[in-house]
């Protein structure tokens, strides 16, 4: 019995993710070592491509979608989906960039930036509100269809605001501070850890507490499991769902701030195209199924790291082109959703066989 318990704990999704991470890491490290040996054999200087410090410092690009992946987890947990997060992020950034100019003329740059950041978050919340409103009022249409539509709308809005130009404030110290969000790091025990990673972990902690330690989280999973029973058990489903969409919009806006920092503090209307897919992939690998009702934030954090390691490793150590890396993402996405079901089938099958055997005995 004890062994079985240990086995079922082992088969928990998060444990599997850790195993996957370790395997990936070992493979990349081994390949890296062989690459270096080959370089030395050719008489060239060796560069250690894949190691812990490199990975830690190179995490930036793979953290950009992590914030919205947290928001997406909430939505997936309720059995909904939000395809418009990439467009929400682009619109939030566009609004931030557009309002900063006039604000700067009226007040000190620091204050103007703070207000612009606030506007960015507000835009994300407003977009999330619109999504949530439409989703809860038009139940005939799936959230997928609705957010597919609102995505076009938000993206179009970006073009109305910015046109085709790249918005940037050259030689503006306050605005350039956005770059720090992305590239800044703090030294912890001799390691320089990107501030972005710390922000992400903090936010993930908040989400963890909400989702797994409060009644809010239980409500969310109740809605995801069965919306009708959730309503009958006294949960105000519509307003709760609306709130979650607003939170998802806010996380998209947070992502966009870091994104602006990553591209040298410039804003473009076509920013963050396709990021919704990354966010969904991360959340699904993390254990949130689009069916709703289950998932763990720990899994999402692990899956962010796995995606980062995988993309970085395939791109650098194996030198695969970007498009092939996307192929791997697709495979992982499908595999990670098939695998738990197959495991479940397996355990069901074993249980049935055991029951049969017991029936025969008696």
């Amino acid at each position: 019995m004890k062994a079985k318990k240990a086995l079922s704990r082992f088969l928990r999704w998060e444990t599997m993710l850790i195993v996957l991470l370790v395997v990936l890491w070992l493979v990349f490290d081994a390949k890296d070592a062989s690459l270096q040996a080959a370089r030395i054999a050719k008489g060239r200087r060796a560069t250690d491509i894949f190691n812990f410090t490199n990975m830690l410092n190179g995490m930036g690009p793979y953290l950009l979608y992590s914030f919205m992946a947290l928001g997406m987890s909430l939505i997936l947990g309720m059995g909904d989906i939000d395809i418009s997060v990439g467009a929400i992020a682009a619109l939030s950034a566009s609004v931030m960039g557009t309002v900063y100019g006039p604000f700067k003329k009226a007040m000190s740059p620091g204050l103007a930036l703070a207000l612009a950041l606030l506007c960015c978050v507000m835009t994300g919340a407003a977009c999330g509100f619109l999504n949530g409103f439409l989703v809860t009022r038009f139940r005939e249409l799936f959230p997928m269809i609705i957010t597919l539509g609102t995505q076009l709308f938000y993206r179009g809005f970006c073009y109305l605001l910015l046109g085709g130009d790249t918005l940037q404030y050259k030689d503006d110290a306050a605005w350039a501070g956005l770059k720090k969000l992305y590239s800044g790091s703090v030294s912890i025990g001799g390691l320089s850890v990107p501030t972005m990673l710390i922000w992400f972990l903090l936010l993930a902690l908040m989400f963890f507490v909400f989702l797994h330690l409060t009644t809010g989280g239980r409500r969310l999973f109740a809605i995801g499991t069965n919306r009708v029973t959730a309503r009958y058990s006294g949960i105000r489903v519509d307003s709760f769902e609306l709130c979650m969409f607003v939170i998802c919009g806010v996380t998209a806006a947070l992502s966009s701030m870091f994104y602006v920092g990553s591209v040298s503090a410039t804003v473009r209307a076509d920013a963050m195209t396709g990021y919704e897919m990354y966010a969904i992939a991360v959340a699904v690998l993390g254990g949130f199924s689009t069916g709703g009702g289950k998932g763990n934030i720990v899994g999402v954090v692990l899956s962010v790291i796995i995606f980062g390691v995988m993309k970085k490793g395939l791109g650098t150590v194996f030198g695969l082109p970007d498009s092939t890396v996307n192929l791997a993402v697709g495979l992982v996405l499908i595999a990670s959703s098939v695998l738990p079901n197959l495991l479940e089938d397996l355990s069901n099958w074993r249980r049935v066989r055991r029951q049969h055997a017991e029936a025969k005995l008696s």
Partner: protein, 339 residues
Amino acid sequence: MKKVLAIVLALVLALSLMSIATAEKAGDGLTIGIVYKQSGNAYFQAGVSGFAKAAEELGFEFMHDGPEDSSNDGQERIIRNYIDMGVDVLCISANDAAGLVDVCNEARAKGIVVLSWDAKVDAEGRDLDIEPASAKAIGVQQLESIAETMGYEGQLAIVSAGATAPNQNLWISFIEEELKANEKYAKVEYLGVVYGDDDYTKSYDVTKSLIDKYPDIKGLIVPTTNGGPAVAKCIMDEGKVGQIKMTGLTLASDMAEYIKGGVADATFLWNPIELGYVTAYVGVAMANGEFEAAEGATIEVPGFEGLEVIPSDDGGLILYLNKLNPFTPETVDAWIDIL
């Protein structure tokens, strides 16, 4: 076990011998990372083949990649990977001139030479920009070609790439300037720009609605290789061959049939292979410290003359190849296999 060891030793020996044998070339031991706008784009494949030709002569290694979706952050990610992989030279064709400045400066801080080719990185983020011809020359040459075909009168419009494309916007601004400034274009009625987003379907559709809206239109300028064949196909499908003529920057293989079919009298393109070739030579020379990007500096590249670094409009340094090839019904066949 002994056998394996023997094989390994033999391999090591062979490799070291090879490295001695090839050690004479200028680029030996250097790695160049080439980053272009979008993977799977024929134009940049041609550019990369120019790098490959130079690699044979100079002995450097190279890697190349572009993001799937011609995005800014995709390029940033690839550049960071290349920095980690220890490249010595980065040659970047930027999707957004301003957006890559930070990551390029990070690369330069690590001693990597940063060149931009085909589409610039802003002056503060690059060592040198290498371009086929000045933006003004490219714009004005297309305008003059189409205006001549039109007999210097009638309606003219532009079908561009994305509304955010910096190269196209720059060329268009020079075309518009020239239209206003030069008397000989007084009778040309300029309708404006529509955007096909470098997407075949969209380019086709905007052209169709353009023709529907202005049935008397006489000239189209298409300053993007992806849009060219779409616009040409649309003119053909609408049965307007002869009435509407186009020109633009196109690949020869894309356009050969249309040019011979009378849709265009001439289209243009510099040779991206040559562009890649020259960029590789400059990169190797700079990484070896044999050449420094400074105003007035010149460089010798086999088959090219008078390559000189001059100050650019954005306050940086630039090198022009100044070679623009026209594809006419007579000459296009010779280019098909090249471009």
